[in-house]
């Protein structure tokens, strides 16, 4: 199998460009610490992107703790009882963003703003850019997943 990179984890790949990697880590840290969107909502969106892209390596890792049961039910978030209206609004936005960003409607945006305001919407689209980007890079770089049995059901 031909691979674009020799390394098996993203930190090792990014270490080839230390100045850029440093700036990337700083942005990533700020993203998970900001107060416009709860970290667990971002984590749900990150994991949903991983499911949609069938990216095992992103699915098996954890950035933020999730309330009980939410990770396991994520592939059926629309019908599962565990999710709040605010979480559903962000997950609906995330799904359309992943498939075709141009298909996002004012209704998708309004639903997010209803819970998190204009700044929350901005935070969500900034975060999705970064999270979707890293998911796609994990696939392009063919990083090796760990054997944790993570579910990749879309």
């Amino acid at each position: 199998m031909i691979r674009l990179v020799e390394e098996n984890d993203r930190q090792a790949v990014m270490a080839k460009l230390p100045d850029i990697a440093k700036r990337y880590r700083e942005l990533e840290r700020a993203l998970w610490r900001q107060e416009h969107l709860p970290a667990h909502v971002l984590e749900l969106c990150r994991l949903r992107l991983a499911q949609l892209h069938r990216c095992t390596i992103e699915l098996e890792r954890s950035e933020s703790d999730l309330p009980e049961g939410k990770r396991a039910a994520l592939s059926r978030w629309e019908s599962a009882a565990q999710y709040s209206a605010a979480e559903r609004a962000c997950l609906a936005f995330t799904e359309v963003y992943a498939m075709d960003t141009r298909a996002l409607s004012d209704a998708h945006a309004d639903a997010v703003k209803q819970h998190f305001g204009d700044a929350g919407l901005v935070m969500l689209v900034e975060a999705l850019g970064m999270l979707d980007g890293m998911t796609r890079l994990c696939l392009l770089w063919q990083l090796a997943p760990q054997a944790t049995g993570a579910e990749v059901t879309a």
């Binding site: 674009l4 460009l17 440093k22 700036r23 900034e126 850019g129 980007g133 796609r136």
Partner: protein, 171 residues
Amino acid sequence: MSRQPRAINPKEPTGSMIRDSALGLVPETLDHYLRLNRAIWEDGPLGPAEIEVARLRNARTVNCVFCKSVRYAIAKADGLDEERVAMIGDNYETSSLSEREKLIIAFTDQYYRDPGDLADTLKADLLRVFAADELVHLSIVVAHFSGFSRCAVSLGGMPDDLPLIEMSLPS
């Protein structure tokens, strides 16, 4: 796409196009975002003209009117004139772009189309032409500008067309 902005920044204008946009609503991440942007342009092995090829191909794919209208002065100074920009279109493969530039476009397209299914022939060509650190830089370039374009599209307020605008790197 919505022509109405979906998020409004009510703060006093600073004169910075990016800080005065809706992105200015989240200053906690914007400063880091701009520092990463500058590092991507200045601290990687690819030159500005090659970065601009990837950025403009991405802008075209995402159809971000803002991104398509921008030309970075450092890329122009690095040799990417409008004649070459016009080649970053449907018929790029038969254009007089360099092999490196054509591979940058092919890689950018694959990033969108199916990042998990990069053909062995394309991988072999990329590995033959680019150094290892250049391929990592190219990957990050495409991911970064994809995120930026899709952010702009997601936030609405996109006109149908804009005149070209030459910019220096935002700070």
